[in-house]
């Protein structure tokens, strides 16, 4: 693992713990990241030195710069997952777009209206859990099971999905998908729902560990 991905994982973890209202120290970091306590210590020191985190009486907290880092990381990650998904064209586009600074404008460029951009930022702020574990529903194959983490989009769409039973934490099985970027059929709560490809790609899920097919590579 590179230094930068280690750093982002550390900051994500701190954010997650803080959001859940639990104090986080070096030992928790080490056990959650599966690394040596000394390595964890080194990483935390690096974060403090870079101005991303602060430590007081063994509790690590994010600084404003750290919050900003996590936000950017999540945006970039989701963006890669959604629109530049592994394909050659996507990678080329990603290359030419480079690091995006105007995220609002960029999401609009991908067809999100202002309301959905706001919704997106809200979800980003409130998102609990580790983002690396989620994939868009469209990345799963038939017969795969997963848990809904959250839906990304305008207020109306997210609410409609929730009313149809796609609330966070719901277990969903992919039944089939239509060819040529057609809709995805899923079963949940004893009913089958067809979701248009656009909507399904905005439903972020956590795949079950015992799925037959591994999720498609994300970013």
């Amino acid at each position: 693992m590179t230094e930068e991905s280690n750093m982002s994982e550390l900051l994500e973890l701190v954010k997650t713990f803080t959001q859940q209202g639990r104090p986080v120290g070096v030992s928790q970091i080490a056990s959650r990241m599966g690394i040596d306590p000394t390595d964890a210590r080194r990483l935390v020191d690096l974060a403090i030195k870079s101005g991303f985190a602060a430590e007081a009486s063994d509790v690590i907290e994010l600084t404003a710069a750290g919050q900003e880092f996590v936000k950017k990381h999540r945006e970039e990650y989701l963006h890669q997952r959604h629109f530049h998904r592994g394909s050659l064209a996507g990678r080329l586009r990603g290359f030419f777009e480079g690091r995006v600074t105007d995220w609002h404008g960029h999401w609009r460029h991908h067809g999100f209206d202002d309301e959905s951009v706001r919704g997106f930022y809200r979800s980003m702020q409130d998102y609990r859990g580790r983002i690396e574990e989620t994939v868009p529903l469209t990345n799963l194959g038939r017969g795969d099971r997963c848990t809904v983490v959250f839906a990304l989009g305008g207020h109306g769409m997210v609410r409609r999905l929730a009313e149809m039973g796609l609330t966070p934490g719901t277990e969903v099985t992919v039944v089939r998908s239509a060819p040529m970027h057609g809709p995805v059929e899923v079963s949940l709560r004893g009913v089958s729902l067809a979701l248009g490809r656009g909507i399904a790609s905005r439903v972020l899920v956590k795949p079950a560990t015992d799925n037959r097919s591994p999720p498609l590579p994300g970013a």
Partner: protein, 653 residues
Amino acid sequence: MRAEKKLAVCLTGNANVGKSVIFNQLTGLNQTVSNWPGKTVERAEGTLHFQGYTMKIIDLPGTYSLSSYSADEVVSRDYISVERPDVVVNIIDASALERNLYLTIQLLELEAPLVIALNQIDLAAKKGITVDAEKLSEMLQVPVVPTVATSGIGMQELLSKVIEVAEKPGKAPSPKHGREIEQRIGNLEQALKAGLPRLCSRYPPRWIAIKLLERDEDVGKHVEAEGGTWILSVATEMISGIEQLHGEPSSVVMASERYSLASRLAGSTVRIVSPPRVDMDQRLSEITAHKILGYPILAGILGCVFAVVFIAGGAMINILDGVFNGVLVPASEALLSPVLPPIFAQMVSGGIVWGIGAAVTIVLPYIVPFYILLAILEDSGYLPRAAFLMDNVMHKIGLHGKAFIPMLLGYGCNVPACVGCRIMETDRERFLAGFVVTLVPCAARTVIILGLVGRYIGMGAALVLYLFDLGLVLLLGRLAFRALPGEPVGLIMEMPPYRTPTAKSIARKTWVRTKEFVYVAFPFIIGGSVFLQFLSATGLINVLADLMSPLIESWLGLPSVTGVPLIFGVLRKELTLVLLADIGGTFDFSRILAPVQMIVFAIVTMIYIPCIATIAALAREFGAKRALAVAALDSVLAVFLGGVAYHLLSLVM
């Protein structure tokens, strides 16, 4: 006999739970279908006599929720909360209890006097699912009656429970939310009771509080209108508290809580008796929604539908045409001409009698078989599969898969297709679908394509015209999609299990729709034909045709006599062919028109101004302004394309 007591009872439930079957079981033939005032949402109403009560039964549209997402939901919720029926019957599907209970919980929040019909217990049993109705009733404190609507089981008991609830008012407890939300609901409720007593007398205060916390726009407007702006700002503060706590939009938090309650209720009442196995339904779904096999099956089914419609329709036309044009029209003429001045005689026999005849002989023979087959497709559950397969194609014109269903209707007749556009969620999508539908060649236009181009030039040419029209539908749909403001909506659609359609339900659907068609279309067809008879009796029609002749002769390259049939075609498109034969004095069209002229004639009739019944349907669904705009656009386009085709084809043919 003592006076009967009156009860207002409404039926609610998700789509595909057998709601209309129960409605039909209860009301029999005593039903009327109309629209809700100001809304294009169907309102079915019927009456029933039971144990000294006269019950007025209202079938509310099938909904999954009571938010203000679609017109269906607003209608349902307004009816229950404002008109306050004596009893609300909530029909739930025993095999999908959890999802169905979501609506039940919302009905309880609305403090509706509830009776639950636990329907389709037979289908659930087949899937190995049993539901403990008594326990469910105990947990919800609402009567629960197990029913099998298709065979009428449980109807008597359902009705006795309805009377029981009506006679002994007392509401079931509103379901409890999580602690933090419950606290906020309580506070908001107190504020509402103190601040807006008038609103609270109309709606349950607890329900207003819940809806405010869900950011319901409709309820928000009501509160604001009553001068409760300060309550709104309190609610907004509470919402941000909830969102901070849960990390999701408040409406999602509330939906999650309802679902977790539904899941708890289902968990303690549903018993899976036998493990789920691959049944007929799953196997059928597997094949019909298959990513490769699905498409030839779709094409095959549609091919069969049209073949049957045209064969059956053609046969019926021959018989009915003989009756009307051979017997009734001459008879009425003979009867009336001695009595009335000739102009009136002509208007009555040629206008009214002939108009009814035209409507009955040409439209109904195609419409009725089409409706029958459509009802079979609907009841079997195939249509959502077709929509599933066609979703990505429909997205090309900015619509989603559901729009495929009205388009399919359009091939039979554009009138029911315009009405069928109601299944689209937003106004924009409905209008877009309506516009596209008017370009779909209906049975009448197919008659022209086949009867003129197919017969005299060849089936290949007819097919090319068909494909040309399909291309035009896609192109214009796409342009309209670009031109109309608003965002496209994605597909969220339930895929109901396959079922065997029953003859009774098919007959009833066909009957109700045919009746509706007669009501919408017949007055216009008859009125229009009287008007045209008036034009022709006074000679005005020739003046009109003369005015049009430069356009027709030099731009379209058609003989000037075709002007009159084209005007009459507004009434019904296949008339153009009938009148062409009339004017030319022969049924051999090759003596009237050259091949290029046939193609141009077919193109113009195919595209120009939808027939008067379609314009009427458009006006009813989307307003007169939009209907006229569509008609004008189609006409200009038809003349333009016809002229272009003439000039291009003259070069090669």
